[in-house]
Symmetry: C2
Subunit: 451 residues, 2 copies
C-alpha cells in the first residue's frame, strides 16, 4: 500500500465519490476503468474512489453496470452529498453547462472532455471554480489521450509560446489521409469514413472544422494567456477539397492537412510578432493547407492527432498520439480524475485560468500566409507576365511560377512568398477577373515552410 | 493585469523569493528569464517573483548580473528568510543533495534538473518534501524541454503504462546520427562531437550510458509507481559501436539508437507481462539497438530527444523536442518554478511520490529481446545447419538466417525471434566456441519490431 503521508482533511478510509454524466463511448470506458481498476486508483489517490452513479438519458437500457448506478436525473446526482467529483462526458452546451456550474458552485471538482462548451464558456466555468475553490480539469477536451492541455498550462508556464499548430480532428485527418493514399474524391472517402465509424451520420462538426475550431480556441487561450472563443477562430472545412488538390499537393511533394493554427502576429499587418509590451495580436484559424511531406505533421495519418508547439526557450516540441476514441479519451479523463481526487485528499488545487495578457484577435486578413494558386489561362504570349503583374499590384511576392500545358489546357501554377491573407485574397479575386485567366482552379494555403 | 482571485496566505504584493544554485548553461538561462520576463512571470503567478541570489563557485567572475546577487555560500542563501523557492542546477550528488534537503526541511519549494541525484535519492527527497509539505519538481531532469515527467505523473495517472522507450541522451544521439550519415567510425565522430560542443571533455557519463540510465530510473519510477534507482538499470554504452554496425543496420533498413527502455515483464522468464495483482516485474535497461527506419524513434536525429509511452488505454504517445541545452532546459525549470510559485500563492501542492506498486526489478537475463548476430564462418557444407542447431539448443527461435560470401569471407547473418536475453547471450557464447565459427563479428539487439 501507499507510503505517502495523509495530509488533507480526508482520511484514508473516506472515499471520494464520483458521478459520471453521460455513458457514450467515453463514459462507458471511464466507468469500466473506475470499476476494474478501483484498487490501483485507490493506491494512486490515497483514498478509495467510488462510483456513486451514472447519469444517462434512458436508464432502461442494459449497459452492463448495476441498474442502481443509473439515473436519468443528472442534477440530483450532481447534488448528492456523497458526490465529490463530477465527470462530464455528455458533450454539447446544455445541460452540460448547468450541470458543471452546479457542481463547481457546490465546491465539487469537475473533469470534462467538452470542447464545445469550453471554447465558449471557459470564463464562466473558471470563475465559478475560482470562487468556490473547486478544480476544473479538461485534458480530454483537446487531442484525446495526448497530454497537451497540461503541458501548455503547466510545463510551458515559464516560457513564451509563439505558435501552436495541430492536427486535432481525427475524422478529417482520416479522410484527407485516405484521399492522399487512394486518389479517391471527397464524397466517396467521406462515405467510407462513415461506414467505418470514423465519421458521424451528420459529419458537419468535423468536416466543416467546427470541432477543430473549438479545440483551437482552447489551445490559443492556454498558449497566449488570453480568452479566445470559437467565434474568434477563422474556419474553413475540408468539404471543398478535391482529388485534384491532393494531386497538386503530391506534385509539390506535399500533402493536405486540416490544421489548427494559433500564433502571435504583429500589432498591424506586416509588423513583426515579437513585440513585447502588449502590442501583439493573436491569430487563430482552422483550414486545410499544403504541408511538405518532410514536415513532422505530414506523417500523422489516419485518425491520429499531433500538436506542434513552438516556444521561445523550449524550441519546437511535438506531441503525438490517439486524438479520439473511448479508451484514449478515458485515459485523459482518468488522469484528471486522479489529480482532482489527490487534490481533495492532499489539499491541493488545479491551476486556475490565466488570461492576464488579453491580446487582441487579429482578423484573418492580417494573418501572414503563403498561397499556392492554380490558374487555367489563355495560351497567348505575355499571360505569365500579366498574371505576375497582378500579384505585384497587390504587393505579393512570387516564390515560383510554372507554365504547364498548351492551348485550352494551358495552366499557371504560382506559389507566393509569405504575405498578408487579405492581399492574397484580393490578388486571387483580381486574377479571376482577368480576361486572359479562364478560371482559378484551386487556391491552397501552404504551411510548414520558411518565409 | 491578472483577474484571478487571491486565495492563499500570499498577498499580491508579497514577492516569492527565488534562489538559483549554480550558474552554468542552465542556470545562466534561468537567471536571464527571471530577470527579462519578470513582468510576465508576475502575471502568471499572481505575485512578483524576485531573484534573491545566485550561488556560484567563484563570485569574482563577471557573469553579467549585479555582483550583489552572487554568493559562494549556497547554504546561507538557501536559509535566507526571503527565499521561498530554490532552483538547483548545480548537478551531481554533493552539495546538491544537502542543499535540496535543507530547503525542503525548511518548507521551501525546490525545482531541480539533477537526474543523477534523483535517480538515487528521490525517496529521501520526496519524504522530506512530504513531511514538510514542500514542493519538489523535476521536469527538467529528463529530456530537457520535453514535458514527459509531468505527463507521466499527472496525465497518465489514471492509466496503466506498459512501456516507455526513449532517446534521452543528446550526445550519443548526435554521435550515432552522424555515424549513420557519414559512415565515419566511433572515435572520429566522438572527436567531432567534442569539438562542436555536443560532447564533454570527459564524455564517459554520456557515451557509456550513465546519463541515460539515470533518466531511465526516473522514468521507470514514475511509470510503474515503483522506486527504481540507477543501480537497477542494466546499462551498455555506445563506445563499442563500429562503422560496420551502422552498415549492417543500413542493410537491414535500420539505424542504431541508444535506447532507454522501461517495461513491465512477467513474474518469471517467458511469463506474460499482463498479470495483475503484483505478479509482474519491471525491466529497465539502456543499450544501443537496431531500430527500423520506419519506427518514429529512427527519425529522431542529432541532439534531439524523444520518448514513446505505451499505455493500456492511451495507446502509443510520443513526445519530441530538444532534450538538452541551456534555454530548453531552463524552459522546463521555469515551468516548474511558475507552478511552485503559484502553489505558494494559491495554496496548492505538487503531486508527491507514488511508489505503492513496489514491483520487483527483473534481471537483464529475464528480459525478452531480439538479437541480430553476424558470424564469420568456415565455408563448409552444413555450417548453417550447425549454427541453427545451436540456437535451437538454447530454445531460441530464428526469424531469418542469410549466408553471404565465400571462402574466408563466408558469413552468416542471423536475426532471432523474441527470446530471453539470457538464452540469447548463452547462444552467442556457445557460437563463439564452435569450430566452424571463425568469429562472432557483431551482436546487436533489435527493438521496435513485433514478436
Amino acid at each position: 500500500m501507499t507510503d505517502v503521508a495523509k495530509n488533507g482533511p480526508w482520511g484514508t478510509d473516506r472515499p471520494i465519490g464520483v458521478a459520471v454524466l453521460g455513458m457514450g463511448n467515453v463514459g462507458t470506458e471511464v466507468v469500466r476503468i473506475l470499476r476494474d481498476h478501483a484498487d490501483e486508483l485507490r493506491s494512486r489517490v490515497g483514498a478509495p474512489v467510488l462510483l456513486r452513479g451514472i447519469a444517462v438519458r434512458d436508464s432502461s437500457i442494459d449497459r452492463g453496470v448495476p441498474a442502481e448506478l443509473l439515473t436519468t436525473d443528472a442534477h440530483a446526482l450532481v447534488a448528492r452529498d456523497d458526490v465529490d467529483l463530477v465527470v462530464e462526458v455528455i458533450g454539447g452546451i446544455d445541460p452540460a453547462r448547468s450541470l458543471i456550474l452546479a457542481a463547481l458552485n457546490a465546491g465539487k471538482s469537475v473533469v470534462t472532455a467538452n470542447k464545445a462548451l469550453l471554447a465558449d464558456y471557459t470564463g464562466e466555468l473558471a470563475a465559478a471554480a475560482e470562487h468556490h475553490r473547486a478544480d476544473l480539469y479538461f485534458e480530454a477536451a483537446v487531442a484525446g489521450a495526448i497530454p497537451v492541455v497540461r503541458p501548455l498550462i503547466q510545463s510551458l508556464s515559464g516560457d513564451r509560446v509563439d505558435r501552436v499548430v495541430g492536427i486535432v480532428n481525427g475524422t478529417t485527418n482520416f479522410i484527407l489521409s485516405a484521399m492522399d493514399e487512394t486518389g479517391a474524391d471527397y464524397s466517396a472517402t467521406l462515405a467510407e469514413a462513415t461506414s467505418l465509424g470514423y465519421a458521424e451520420a451528420d459529419p458537419t462538426a468535423d468536416v466543416e472544422g467546427y470541432d477543430a475550431a473549438a479545440k483551437a480556441a482552447i489551445l490559443a487561450s492556454l498558449a497566449f494567456h488570453t480568452r479566445v472563443t470559437a467565434a474568434d477562430v477563422y474556419r474553413e472545412g475540408i468539404s471543398k477539397i478535391t482529388a485534384e488538390d491532393l494531386e497538386t499537393a503530391s506534385a509539390l511533394d506535399c500533402t493536405v492537412k486540416l490544421l489548427a493554427i494559433c500564433e502571435r502576429v504583429g500589432a498591424g499587418p506586416g509588423e513583426p510578432a515579437r513585440e513585447h509590451g502588449g502590442k501583439e495580436r493573436v491569430s487563430v484559424r482552422v483550414y486545410p493547407a499544403l504541408v511538405p511531406r518532410r514536415h513532422p505533421l505530414a506523417a500523422v495519418s489516419g485518425a491520429f492527432n499531433a500538436v506542434v508547439v513552438e516556444a521561445e526557450n523550449a524550441g519546437r516540441l511535438m506531441f503525438y498520439g490517439q486524438g479520439a476514441g473511448g479508451a484514449p479519451t478515458a485515459s485523459a479523463v482518468l488522469g484528471d480524475l486522479v489529480m482532482a481526487a489527490r487534490n481533495k485528499f492532499f489539499g491541493g488545487r488545479a491551476p486556475g485560468e490565466s488570461v492576464y495578457a488579453e491580446l487582441p484577435i487579429a482578423p484573418i486578413g492580417d494573418t501572414p500566409t503563403r498561397y499556392h494558386v492554380n490558374l487555367q489561362v489563355e495560351d497567348v504570349p505575355g499571360v505569365l507576365a500579366k498574371v505576375a503583374g497582378e500579384f505585384a499590384n497587390h504587393g505579393v511576392s512570387i516564390s515560383t511560377v510554372r507554365q504547364e500545358g498548351h492551348g485550352e489546357g494551358a495552366r499557371l501554377v504560382v506559389v507566393t512568398h509569405c504575405a498578408m491573407e487579405s492581399a492574397l485574397a484580393d490578388t486571387v479575386a483580381a486574377l479571376a477577373e482577368m480576361t486572359s485567366v479562364t478560371s482559378v482552379t484551386s487556391v491552397l494555403r501552404l504551411e510548414g515552410t520558411e518565409e
